[in-house]
């Protein structure tokens, strides 16, 4: 635990998990604590260092969004509205953030909500980690009023008149609240419930390439915004070129007339400094920007840069025959539009189980030259879940004579098999017993199916259809 002087008293400023278990809490006098636990280890608090560390942590959080605001003494606001897509959604972003903080030994609580106030309340007093849009007021209703970032005297005077919970406070007439407790209570309440805007001055990372434009008149027209983006991209790329670097990640931040910042972030598959390409990608993300009554300031930051290797080799080897085509711009454009994980190549996996035969790799991953074994007959369409069929075979180890799939009867004219596939016992115990006998069958009309039996017939093995479209 750490201690700090407050007036003439020496009080506890911060406790770690072990001290908290011993019922120590902030605000206790050190002498009281020492009387409870004789061998207490006390460290002098260093608020300035704490704040510097918080800012360092906030700078690290820029990885998650361009709009990061440190909230001393112990909080950080991250506006993820324009960047959650790069992490496959908000839930995945929060999980990733918590995991990384934990790995660094930082005890942190995270909450995600429509407003900064609501998230602040939930992270400190609430249970829910992620509040779906529009549910903020329900989520905070039962929390104590202290969750509204009110000063301790205000909280205690509210509790004097019996107002303990946020829902109680929200149901009181606003006029009398204002006269009795001041405007701050109403402002904090409105900020938490989303009825009042809360401008958060975002942290500017030092020494990163940045271009900024300020407008005398607010700009709001989508076409004008596109031109603004082009200008910013030109400015930024000039700077990048001078430094010999390219952007791997770009943050576009618009500050509206009401001082609310709106951000869009794009990730790039390789370092770029071509203004046209960057402007096009950014324009794709304009949909997430709500210009409101107009934009006053626009800035473009390259928050992750890398040296540009003038002749890029990656992305040029995709033609298997050595042809030289650069598809990285296409991959970026589609990645921004569809989500990076939805643009990919596949690579063979050495697994006999068909559902594990391939894995996704990034679209511009260096080519491996691996191909699937061409002697294994495989269907063009593999069902995600094999479909159960009723089949009749003449002899236990023979292919079926006929099968019923989706209420239609198919008479088998020719068949090939079995191809026996064993489960991969080294992956999980349950697979030790997995045995599949695959048959390729052709029905009377020439259609080919890929069926398997999941065990010998005498042991109750049943038949499944796994794919269609045999070569």
């Amino acid at each position: 635990m750490t201690a700090i002087m407050q007036g003439q008293r020496r009080i506890i400023a911060g406790v770690d998990a072990a001290s908290a278990q011993l019922d120590l809490s902030c605000g206790m006098t050190v002498t009281h604590a020492q009387s409870l636990i004789p061998d207490l280890q006390v460290i002098e608090a260093a608020p300035e260092e704490d704040e510097a560390a918080l800012i360092r942590l906030a700078l690290w959080c820029i990885k998650y969004s361009p709009l990061v605001t440190p909230n001393p003494p112990d909080g950080i606001f991250i506006d993820v509205a324009g960047s959650a897509h790069l992490f496959q959604g908000e839930a995945a972003l929060v999980a990733d953030l918590c995991k990384r903080l934990k790995a660094e030994g930082i005890t942190a609580k995270a909450a995600l909500a429509d407003t900064a106030g609501c998230a602040w309340a939930l992270a400190r007093y609430g249970e829910a980690q992620i509040v779906s849009p529009g549910r903020g007021s329900d989520a905070v209703a039962s929390l104590p009023v202290a969750a509204l970032r009110l000063t301790p005297p205000t909280v205690s005077s509210l509790s004097d008149v019996g107002i303990e919970r946020i829902a109680q406070l929200a149901s009181k007439p606003r006029g009398s609240l204002r006269t009795r407790f001041g405007a701050e209570v109403l402002l904090r309440l409105d900020q938490a419930l989303g009825n009042a805007n809360e401008p958060l001055p975002s942290l500017l990372p030092p020494e990163v390439p940045r271009a900024e434009l300020r407008f005398a008149e607010p700009v709001g027209d989508p076409d004008d915004l596109k031109r603004v983006i082009e200008k910013l991209a030109n400015k930024l790329c000039h700077d990048l070129e001078a430094r010999g670097i390219g952007a791997r990640r770009l943050d576009l931040v618009f500050v509206r007339v009401d001082n609310i910042a709106q951000a869009a972030r794009i990730g790039l598959s390789r370092p770029y400094r071509e203004p046209k390409h960057l402007a096009k990608l950014l324009a794709e993300r304009l949909v997430v920007i709500d210009p409101g009554f107009g934009i006053e300031t626009a800035s473009l930051t390259a928050s992750w840069v890398e040296a540009v290797v003038e002749r890029q080799t990656i992305g040029r080897h995709i033609g298997a025959d050595g042809s030289q085509h650069d598809v990285s711009q296409l991959v970026d454009t589609l990645g921004v539009r569809l989500g990076e994980s939805n643009v990919f190549r596949v690579s063979p996996v050495e697994s006999l189980l068909p559902e594990r035969a391939m894995r996704r790799i990034p679209a511009l991953h260096p080519t491996e030259g691996l191909a699937w074994p061409s002697n294994l007959p495989r269907p063009a369409r593999l069902f995600l879940q094999p479909e159960k069929v009723e089949a009749v075979a003449e002899l236990p180890d023979h292919p079926p004579r006929m099968f019923i799939w989706r209420k239609a009867r198919h008479r088998v004219a020719k068949a090939d098999g079995p191809e026996r596939i064993h489960g991969e016992w080294w992956i999980s115990d349950g697979e030790t017993k997995l045995v599949r006998d695959y048959y390729r069958v052709e029905t009377a009309d020439g259609t080919r199916y890929w069926l398997f039996r999941d065990g010998p017939t005498e042991q109750g093995g049943s038949w499944w259809l796994h794919g269609v479209g045999d070569a």
Binding site: D321, M358, A380, D416, G446, Y449
Partner: protein, 253 residues
């Protein structure tokens, strides 16, 4: 004053129109199938590059368009350069593409779930001149959408290939509606000939050319794509088909 010779401006206009339609490209840049019986019936002797082509599947498992997939993959296997494949679902089994000669390193996949995502993605790909082809799996292809794709394909010279998927009867019936594709193919399974031994011979397809700009519809029985993406005429049928086309040529000529 009347023009002295109206022939010259008309000839010039014709050439101009050809240039506009072919987007300044040399006419007849085609990909032959390598099967004389098919190539001779296609304008310029093959599948026109830089155009939109459509593959529809017939038969019992047509919902999954497995054969149409292999047919399209076979065409791409015979081209050079990277391929953009716009998926609509997750059932494509890539190892089968390799079996008809389309190496996985060449294919960039885009996973989408709706037609309205597939078509703009295809358009973006078609604008990227370095690609060999762009494949899209769609259930509906309106006249306007197909015109857009055809236009983009013509400008860049990238070949656009549509695989029609359907999930209900209305979508299946919609596959017959007209669009701007240069060719429309139907691939249906056909019983393979009896063999003396156990096992399956190369699959046979009934390949129907339903529509072709500047040509006549036709049907063939072919052997499915081999490991290099080439179709072949079945040995037993090769003579008969050749004889039939001889006859037809005699009848028209």
């Amino acid at each position: 004053m009347a023009l002295a010779s109206p022939q010259r401006p008309i000839a010039e206009l014709r050439r101009y129109l050809e240039r506009v339609e072919g987007h300044g490209r040399e006419q007849g840049e085609v990909l032959p199938f390598g099967v004389a019986a098919i190539d001779t019936l296609l304008p310029h002797g093959g599948l026109a590059r830089g155009h939109l082509h459509e593959a529809i599947e017939g038969g019992a498992a047509s919902q999954y368009a497995g054969l149409a997939t292999l047919y399209v993959a076979g065409i791409l296997a015979r081209m050079r350069g990277p391929v953009l494949w716009c998926l609509r679902g997750r059932d494509l089994f890539a190892p089968a593409l390799a079996r008809v000669g389309l190496h996985p390193d060449r294919v960039i996949f885009c996973e989408t779930w709706k037609d309205r995502d597939v078509l703009p993605t295809m358009e973006e790909g078609l604008k990227c001149g370095g690609l060999a082809g762009v494949v899209g799996e769609v259930s509906c292809l309106s006249l306007n959408a197909s015109r857009r794709l055809q236009l983009c394909a013509g400008e860049s010279g990238v070949t656009a290939l549509i695989i029609r998927r359907w999930h209900n009867l209305a979508e299946k019936n919609a596959t017959g509606e007209p669009n701007a594709a240069a060719t429309r193919w139907r691939i249906a399974p056909h019983p393979s000939p009896a063999t003396g031994f156990d096992g399956l011979p190369r699959q046979h397809w009934q390949l129907d050319l339903l529509r072709v700009r500047g040509g006549e519809p036709h049907s063939w029985i072919v052997e499915a794509c081999d490991a290099t993406g080439h179709l072949a005429l079945p040995a037993a049928l090769a003579d008969r088909s050749a004889a039939a086309s001889e006859q037809r040529r005699a009848a028209t000529g």
